[in-house]
């Protein structure tokens, strides 16, 4: 917490997906200072996370554009006004002072904002939990390999069938005493070449159509000893394990925003026609915003976030017009 920054801005844009990037441009265009926060290390939301190479064909004025090129163009447009990007950090809580909403990020940074525009899309991806070992989380169970060295000379069990599971099994095979890769299905989703390397590694065992069903060890001291692996036939076996790494994919949810007092419908935030939420100084736009008749498309999100930012501009300075003027006026 000692390094934690304290920042102030007119607008805080929460989420750097397409909606948030366009919102950052728009806030700059309205003369507002802008901070953009995203939990992911890169901008571009779902487009960069799920389909960077696909062609997008339904954005006005762009007959066909590759996902990553579209995001680069949105960023370039926003950067004309030099917003501050705080990436790799999640917005966690909001408090209210008399003239600002104060948002705290997971690294302790506090941002005092005249208004917050939530463009959180489908939310933050979190690792899918391994139910059987939930009490062992951060003791003998983890969802990532942060530092492979930690697993030197350990018996490691890796659960999953995608690229992460295979990559980690591959990377740890030369460090760990043993690696057991456990996957629920017979086939792997990850790269065939990595799988071939994993299968031929002398200290690696691959168990398919199997699940980790129980953890056993000294929980109080965080000393995992073994896990039970159950085959779809019901046959069980015990596998030595100092550590289990579960790579079961990610589930996105708006997570911490659930505690902000917002009116929610499932994963979405209810807004009025000005894109205001029920919480003072907090607006929402794009996939995360919900109202009667909502259509979840980028072209709709762009309109919503422009609406939100224009209302923010007036809320912050009642002397301003709601209508921004035309962008062509400046040239």
């Amino acid at each position: 917490m000692s390094k934690a920054q304290k920042l102030a801005t007119d607008v805080l844009i929460l989420g750097a997906g397409p909606t948030g990037l366009y919102g950052a441009y728009y806030a700059g265009f309205r003369g507002l200072s802008t901070i953009v926060v995203d939990v992911l290390p890169q901008v571009g939301g779902q487009v960069m996370a799920l389909y960077p190479e696909k062609q997008i064909r339904d954005v006005a004025g762009l007959p066909s554009i590759r996902g990553r090129d579209f995001i680069a163009a949105l960023k370039e447009q926003a950067d004309a006004f030099s917003p501050t990007y705080l990436l790799g950090r999640q917005a966690v809580t909001v408090e209210h002072s008399s003239d600002a909403a104060v948002v705290t990020l997971d690294d302790g940074t506090r941002i005092e904002a005249g208004a917050v525009v939530i463009t959180a899309g489908i939310g933050t991806p979190k690792p899918r939990p391994l139910q059987a070992g939930s009490q062992w989380l951060d003791r003998g169970l983890s969802y990532f390999v942060v530092d492979p060295e930690v697993h030197r000379d350990q018996d490691v069990v890796i659960v999953g069938g995608g690229d992460s599971a295979l990559d980690w099994a591959d990377a740890l095979s030369t460090l760990a005493t043993s690696v057991t890769l456990v996957h629920r299905r017979s086939g792997f989703r990850g790269h065939a070449a990595t799988l071939a390397r994993v299968e031929s590694s002398p200290n690696t065992t691959v168990l398919t159509e199997c699940e980790v069903t129980a953890f056993d060890g000294d929980l109080a001291n965080g000393q995992l000893q073994k896990v039970t692996v159950t085959h779809t036939s019901g046959e069980e076996r015990l596998v030595a394990a100092d550590h289990v790494i579960a790579a079961l994919g990610f589930i996105s949810d708006i997570g911490p925003l659930r505690t902000w007092g917002l009116q929610l419908a499932g994963r979405s935030i209810q807004v009025d026609r000005s894109m205001r939420t029920n919480v003072p100084r907090v607006y929402a736009a794009g996939d995360v915003a919900d109202f009667d008749g909502k259509v979840r498309l980028m072209s709709v999100g762009f309109g919503e976030v422009a609406t939100a930012v224009n209302h923010v501009a007036v809320e912050l300075d009642p002397d301003l017009n709601l209508f921004p003027g035309h962008s062509t006026d400046e040239s």
Binding site: I122, R128, P129, R184, R189, I251, D253, G266, R267
Partner: protein
């Protein structure tokens, strides 16, 4: 819009689709899985994972007589009261937390064995 799981999932239920769904909106009944159309973000990740090609997008399902009944059946799984329960599932917002529902719609329960 949403993706739809057709009858070929019945008794196969290998859950590959569930592993890849980024919003955890594929729910397990007893013999078959069902996608919650309000929660699905139409990403298509599940479609390519299914080993028996049981999943299609609703636009395709509407025009295909094999799939079209499962469009309404999938809605009924969430919006009607399932046998043995006293309220509809609604939009549970996460299949992992809910766990297997353990019961199917009457249409699916009546299907012949698919093994």
């Amino acid at each position: 819009m949403a993706y739809v799981i057709g009858p070929d999932c019945t008794d196969i239920l290998d859950r590959s689709c569930i592993d890849v769904c980024p919003v955890d909106c594929i729910y397990v009944g007893e013999r078959k899985s069902y996608i919650n159309g309000n929660e699905c973000i139409d990403c298509g990740a599940c479609e390519v994972e299914c080993p028996v090609e049981a999943i299609v997008v609703d636009r395709v399902a509407k025009k295909n007589p094999k799939f079209s009944p499962y469009l309404t059946d999938q809605e009924s799984f969430f919006h009607d009261i399932l046998p043995g329960r006293d309220a509809p599932l609604g939009d549970p917002n996460g299949a992992t937390a809910l766990g297997p529902v353990g019961v199917d719609t009457p249409l699916v329960a009546a299907l012949p064995s698919n093994q």
